[in-house]
């Protein structure tokens, strides 16, 4: 029979009660990121209805009326009485139209006080040729047969449209689509959009490496070159040895082709290939392409430091570049093909400033050499080397280069704070 709280009871009798003395007033606010009353910014909303889809308490409803000039007048209401305040809609709303304030005074005597709503006008697309306004045709099952010179316009109901000519059916858009509304079949080259599932978020357009998907708001694209017919010709035998003769021209079935003379077998292309279709063996200098795996995305061509891979659309390159180390000494390589604006990996070392001759002679085979006098063994060059060819030991003050690993990319040269490396 023990009484645990005697001491506390007595001491508390004379101490101040721990009470917030809360008296009902509307001004008090919740904690900093408290999810209280919802505030809806109708202007930002694009009526993608993502929020409605994810709301567990299906508290969000919307009503669409047609305005006289044909636009959609959408009023979206948030019924706080059925909301669990989990803010999933806020997370899913790509455009920040939903915001949870810190006001927790949601006392209502009638139901209307709990309705938060906002209306906005959703513009119909400005110019539309009368015929061309597809009344949300049946999903474009197969890419419209590419007749020459046809103009591909973005659709007006917010759904993506495919530019068959550019599309390489790499199925990245299908994988990225959150709503799983896209089916792309690489084998028989079909691109199918599921109208009602598609939320028009635009993720596929962004992910598409070839920019073959147009979203409302992009400029229409005219089919430049006659698109390669859907049915790809029989896969070319992978040419091992460069055809004797003067020129190596890019293949027309969209697959990369190697320029053996320029290639230094640095295996970067193999590493970068998203589909893993390339095998490059440094030892016995072989470069094999796996036809059916290759998606023709062109990533290898871009990643190749030596521009030894040609993609359709590049100019043919003379096969007989000197077999020996092609890289001209300090001269920048040929200007790269016109680049898309996609973020290219760190710009290759084009702006290599000419290095005044030092007592230490830069090597001739394009690999870096260290100037011991300036080197402070800070190991940044080792760290920056993309292929890990440098070993620098601060304490033992050693700087060792692994020739066959080094690809001569020049990173170490660039990052060396003391300019102790010469290329």
């Amino acid at each position: 029979m023990d009484f645990p709280f005697i001491k506390e009871a007595l001491s508390q009798l004379f101490s101040k009660p721990s009470c917030q003395m809360y008296v009902p007033d509307k001004t008090k606010e919740g904690a900093p990121n408290y999810r209280g009353r919802i505030v809806f910014h109708p202007d930002k909303c694009i009526n993608c209805m993502m929020c409605e889809r994810v709301c567990s308490g299906n508290a969000i409803t919307h009503v669409i009326e047609k305005t006289p000039e044909g636009d959609d007048k959408v009023t979206r209401t948030f019924y706080l009485g059925s909301c669990t305040f989990c803010a999933t809609c806020m997370d899913f709303c790509g455009h920040g139209a939903i915001e949870f304030t810190r006001d927790y005074h949601m006392i209502a005597t009638k139901e209307e006080d709990l309705m938060v709503s906002g209306t906005f006008i959703k513009k119909a697309p400005v110019k539309k040729a009368p015929a061309a306004k597809p009344a949300a045709p049946a999903p474009a099952a197969a890419p419209a047969p590419a007749e020459g010179g046809k103009v591909i316009k973005p659709r007006d109901d917010g759904k993506p449209v495919q530019v068959p000519s550019k599309c390489v059916y790499c199925t990245i858009c299908a994988k990225k689509c959150p709503a799983g509304a896209l089916e792309v079949d690489r084998a028989n080259k079909t691109w199918k959009l599921d109208e009602d599932n598609c939320v028009g978020c635009g993720t596929c357009a962004e992910a598409c490496p070839k920019k073959a998907i147009l979203m409302p708001g992009d400029e229409p694209v005219t089919e430049a070159a006659p698109a390669a017919p859907a049915a790809a010709p029989a896969p070319k035998a992978e040419e091992k040895a460069a055809p004797a003769g003067a020129m190596i021209s890019p293949r027309e079935d969209g697959k990369p082709v190697q320029v053996p003379s320029k290639c230094v077998y640095c295996t970067i292309c193999a590493k970068k290939c998203p589909a893993g279709a390339l095998e490059v063996d440094r030892a016995n200098k072989t470069w094999t392409l796996d036809e059916d795996n290759c998606v023709g995305c062109g990533t290898c061509a871009e990643a190749c430091p030596k521009k030894a891979i040609l993609m359709p659309g590049d100019e043919p390159v003379p096969a007989d570049a000197p077999a020996a180390a092609p890289a001209p000494k300090a001269a920048a390589p040929a200007a790269p093909a016109p680049k898309k604006e996609e973020p290219a990996p760190a710009p290759k070392a084009e702006e290599k400033p000419a290095e005044p001759p030092k007592p230490v002679q830069p090597r001739d085979d394009g690999r870096p050499v260290q100037d011991p006098s300036k080197c402070i063994y800070c190991t940044i060059c080792a760290r920056k080397c993309p292929v890990g060819a440098l070993e620098v030991d601060r304490t033992a003050k050693t700087w060792k280069l692994d020739e066959d690993v080094c690809i001569g990319c020049g990173n170490c040269y660039e990052v060396c704070p003391k300019k102790a490396i010469l290329l």
Partner: protein, 148 residues
């Protein structure tokens, strides 16, 4: 001569009766936390009553399940006038995430006139105190309107 005194004290000593109609106990804990030292609703006269006969304010939590519907309605019926019905959280107000399920008998307002709803999926204790305070004012109006 007691009339004015009675009306005034009706507002000052509201007794709560808590009915859990299938709630996830989030609101139940929050309701009881209102009586803890930190928020101390007892300073405004609130007290949990044991039986509906003693209650003035009936606090309903949870989406009225089929099983609990007749019991909830019977308990509310047994509360003497003047009485107030407060629904706490979203569940009694709309069935919240459970709406449309075979076992949920829909919002309480379908069966009984709800005086005050404290929204929020587990409303903050301060919000609960606001709601109850509003309920006591409604109680006073009801008492004025009622001839003994």
């Amino acid at each position: 001569m007691f009339k004015k005194l009675i009306e005034e004290s009706t507002g000052k000593s509201p007794w709560l009766f808590h009915i859990n109609a299938g709630s996830c106990n989030g609101c139940d804990i929050e309701l009881v936390s209102v009586l803890t030292p930190r928020y101390d609703a007892e300073r405004l006269g609130f007290k949990l009553a044991g039986s509906p006969r003693h209650a003035d304010i009936v606090v309903v939590t949870g989406p009225i399940t089929q099983q609990s519907l007749p019991r909830v309605l019977r308990s509310i019926e047994q509360v003497p006038d003047p009485k107030c019905i407060v629904t706490m959280g979203s569940c009694p107000q709309s069935g919240n995430v459970f709406r449309g399920s075979y076992s949920v008998a829909g919002p309480l307002s379908k069966y009984v006139h709800v005086d005050v709803d404290v929204a929020g999926c587990t409303p903050k204790p301060e919000a609960v105190i606001d709601g109850l305070y509003l309920a006591t004012q409604i109680l006073q109006e009801k008492r004025k309107g009622m001839k003994k």
